[in-house]
């Protein structure tokens, strides 16, 4: 009897998990389906789920109208560059906070996180003017630096949490064996925190990939990433749902594939240290 109840509960949990999973995935599925419809089918009432005339016309039109390759390469450069640069800066910062904390470390961590609470539009004009003065509007390198700075508090926080799980005695032992600070971080700490660093890398890559406020405001042509690509298909006047869905599908496809292949690493990193 007890076994039957357990099995029943298991089945219920599984069904619930599937329902929640499908509900979360449904907007993406709907976007993908809409991208294969005509504009008329895209707005049909009641909505058509599968029984429509499948067409690739939206994709060919989007490819014809926009330079997808340029937007994609900019997204890869900006998201990848900012994530890697962020990790390079955040690893030593998180090390010092985790292993040689001062009286103010907790305050500094909280202060860093508080910068994320400022509405981005509040600093749009200062940042915009700064970019004009430095001549770096619509510049990929500038976007790498700006997105790195935006995501740095999260990177430091995540790494700090992972590093705190690593026993300080191991680092002490390395020091006693004659390891320099650089060697201690590179050869002892980093390999032990690989799952945490990998999940931080992935999460921040996704955050930078999806960042839309700064990329829409500070880029126009040369540095414009996929967020600009999607925005160019949005319109309050006319029928653009199917084309917008095709553009959205093309923009999210790379990050979906990356997420799909790295989900094991991502989950492992995010739950790292959760169970002691």
């Amino acid at each position: 009897m007890a076994r039957a109840v357990t099995n029943q509960r298991k089945a219920l949990n599984t069904a619930l998990a599937w329902i929640v999973g499908l509900a979360i995935f449904f907007p993406i599925l709907w976007t993908i389906l809409t991208s294969f419809k005509t504009e008329a089918d895209a707005i049909a009432n009641p909505p058509i789920l599968f029984a429509f005339d499948w067409t690739l016309e939206n994709y060919s039109e989007v490819m014809e109208r926009s330079n997808y390759g340029r937007f994609l390469s900019n997204s890869i450069l900006i998201a990848g560059g900012s994530t890697i640069l962020g990790i390079i800066i955040a690893v030593p910062a998180a090390w010092s906070m985790a292993f040689v904390p001062s009286r103010r470390t907790k305050d500094i961590l909280l202060w860093m996180l508080s910068t994320k609470m400022l509405p981005a539009v509040g600093v749009l004009y200062p940042i915009y003017l700064l970019c004009i003065r430095l001549g770096v509007l619509d510049n990929r390198l500038a976007m790498v630096v700006i997105l790195m700075l935006i995501n740095l508090p999260i990177i430091v926080w995540m790494l700090y949490t992972y590093f705190k799980e690593i026993p300080g005695e191991i680092l002490e032992a390395a020091r006693m064996d004659g390891a320099s600070l650089k060697e201690e971080i590179l050869y002892v700490l980093t390999p032990m925190a690989i799952p945490g660093i990998a999940s931080t890398l992935l999460l921040n890559f996704i955050l930078a990939w999806n960042e839309a406020f700064w990329t829409l405001n500070l880029t126009s042509v040369d540095a414009a990433p996929l967020t600009q690509f999607i925005a160019s298909y949005s319109s309050p006047e006319g029928l653009f749902f199917a084309k917008l869905s095709a553009a959205s599908t093309m923009a999210i496809a790379p990050i979906l594939i990356l997420g799909w292949f790295s989900q094991k690493q991502l989950v492992r990193g995010l739950t790292f240290g959760a169970v002691k």
């Binding site: 640069l85 390198l141 829409l216 925005a231």
Partner: protein, 439 residues
């Protein structure tokens, strides 16, 4: 390869590529144009190669959704950022930005361009102190689009210039709740360019105005109360469910699916609802002037999407060349030749409406009549201090009108009474106008 080597190599590669790529681009004869995403603009982008072939000037497009574009170009022009050589702006921004010296006056246009051919209403709305600051790419007013079959079935005939009372009666007669047919679809969505634009234009015909000559808000007057009560009463009787959140696109979808008897909106929508590829009712659409109440002002608006040159550009001559090409008669002929007259950008030039082939397009005459009957300098029954029909051309208007339209939408949704919505609108407007130094 060790983790460290891989990490260092990939970091260096990403930063170097980003850095070198940042300085690798650039072409001396390339102009960058910021524009909105709509059918006419996208069509123009398709013909850009011809302009480049003729002039040797390359064109880069930055296409954005209307509200994003507005924020983007405003940031750039107010900081003299120089990101764009041409900006697509509307009738609201042009006189304000022109007065601030942010736009290059278009007084260097060639004789062949024939600036006098631009419709007077468009020219007036895109000028400041008699100087043209933007050239209209296309213009629009608003009018009634209605289902001729449903109107006939209701035993009614649409006059060319109906009153609001007739529209309300006709909407009730055409409504068929069992078959999901709504007698009338109108904008109710918050936002100064959405429901705010519609209700302001409608209020003009009821004798309301935003400000008196001392810039005092006028929401505490009877005409505003009449406007809101009439709108809400009619929409409850004959409008679609969820109308307080419907904008242009939602109503277009409803109309194209045959779920609206009438729709009062931008004249540019006429080509969408009569296009059989998108509309299920394309062959049974009629047109009429926007309604009035007999007070001498109709409820149609006036708008243009126009091309302007920001003062910060380094390529003024090239930008002017493009504007002459894109808003001139040659471009219209190019589109007419390749895609038919119905696809020519409407509402900007007199010569287009003198063309007998274009005059045969079913909505051409009504579009022209609607544009000609709209006067942004004389848009209210009582005298008002501002220029504009569905807006007041002052910098503060967009912010105030967005808040006011939110109050109105809350009334439509039954969250407050008309009196409460108007009292809140009055307070919001007067507070903002006082802070801005008008009062």
């Amino acid at each position: 390869m060790t983790f460290r080597n891989a990490f260092c190599a990939s970091s260096a590669l990403a930063i170097c590529v980003a850095g070198t790529a940042a300085f690798a681009d650039g072409h001396s004869a390339t102009i960058t144009i910021a524009t909105v995403n709509n059918g006419d603009m996208i069509r123009m982008q398709g013909y850009t190669d011809q302009f480049t072939e003729e002039t040797g000037i390359a064109v880069e497009w930055v296409t954005l959704e209307e509200n994003v574009l507005r924020q983007r170009v405003t940031t750039d022009i107010t900081t003299n950022g120089g990101q764009f050589d041409i900006m697509t702006i509307g009738m609201y921004e042009t006189p304000i930005w022109g007065a601030n010296g942010w736009l290059v006056p278009l007084d260097g246009l060639s004789e062949e361009y024939d600036v006098d051919d631009i419709l007077p209403a468009m020219r007036g709305g895109l000028s400041h102190d008699g100087t043209l600051y933007a050239a209209p790419f296309y213009g629009e007013s608003s009018m009634i689009m209605y289902r001729t079959d449903l109107m006939e079935a209701a035993g009614l005939e649409m006059p060319e210039a109906p009153t609001w009372e007739f529209i309300r009666e006709a909407a009730a007669a055409m409504t068929d709740r069992d078959n999901d047919i709504n007698g009338i679809c109108l904008r109710g969505k918050p936002g100064w360019g959405e429901g705010g634009a519609f209700i302001t234009a409608m209020s003009n015909s009821f004798g309301a105005r935003w400000f008196d000559m001392e810039w005092q808000a006028q929401f505490d007057t009877q005409p505003w109360l009449d406007t809101l009560n009439f709108y809400q009463g009619m929409m409850q009787e004959s409008g679609p469910n969820g109308y307080p959140s419907n904008g242009f696109t939602e109503n277009l979808n409803l109309f194209n699916q045959g779920l609206c008897g009438m729709w009062i909106d931008a004249t540019v929508a006429a080509s969408f609802v009569t296009n059989p590829e998108d509309s299920t009712v394309a062959d049974s659409v009629g047109f009429a002037l926007a309604p009035d109440t007999g007070l001498g002002v109709r409820s149609n608006w006036l708008w243009a999407w126009a091309l302007a040159i920001p003062a910060g550009t380094q390529q003024q001559d090239e930008a002017l060349q493009f504007i002459e090409w894109a808003t001139g008669t040659e471009y219209m002929q190019l589109v007419a030749w390749n895609e038919g007259h119905a696809n020519v950008p409407p509402g900007s030039r007199t010569s287009l409406y003198e063309n007998p082939v274009y005059a045969a397009v079913p909505f051409a005459q009504m579009t022209l009549d609607s544009i000609l009957s709209a006067d942004p300098n004389n848009s209210t029954v009582e005298e008002s201090p501002y220029v504009g029909i569905q807006f007041a051309a002052i910098p503060e208007f967009a912010g105030i009108a967005t808040e006011v339209s939110q109050e109105f939408s809350a009334f439509y949704a039954g969250q407050q009474t008309a009196e409460e919505a108007l009292a809140n609108a009055q307070a919001i407007t007067n507070e903002a106008m006082e802070a801005a130094g008008y009062q």
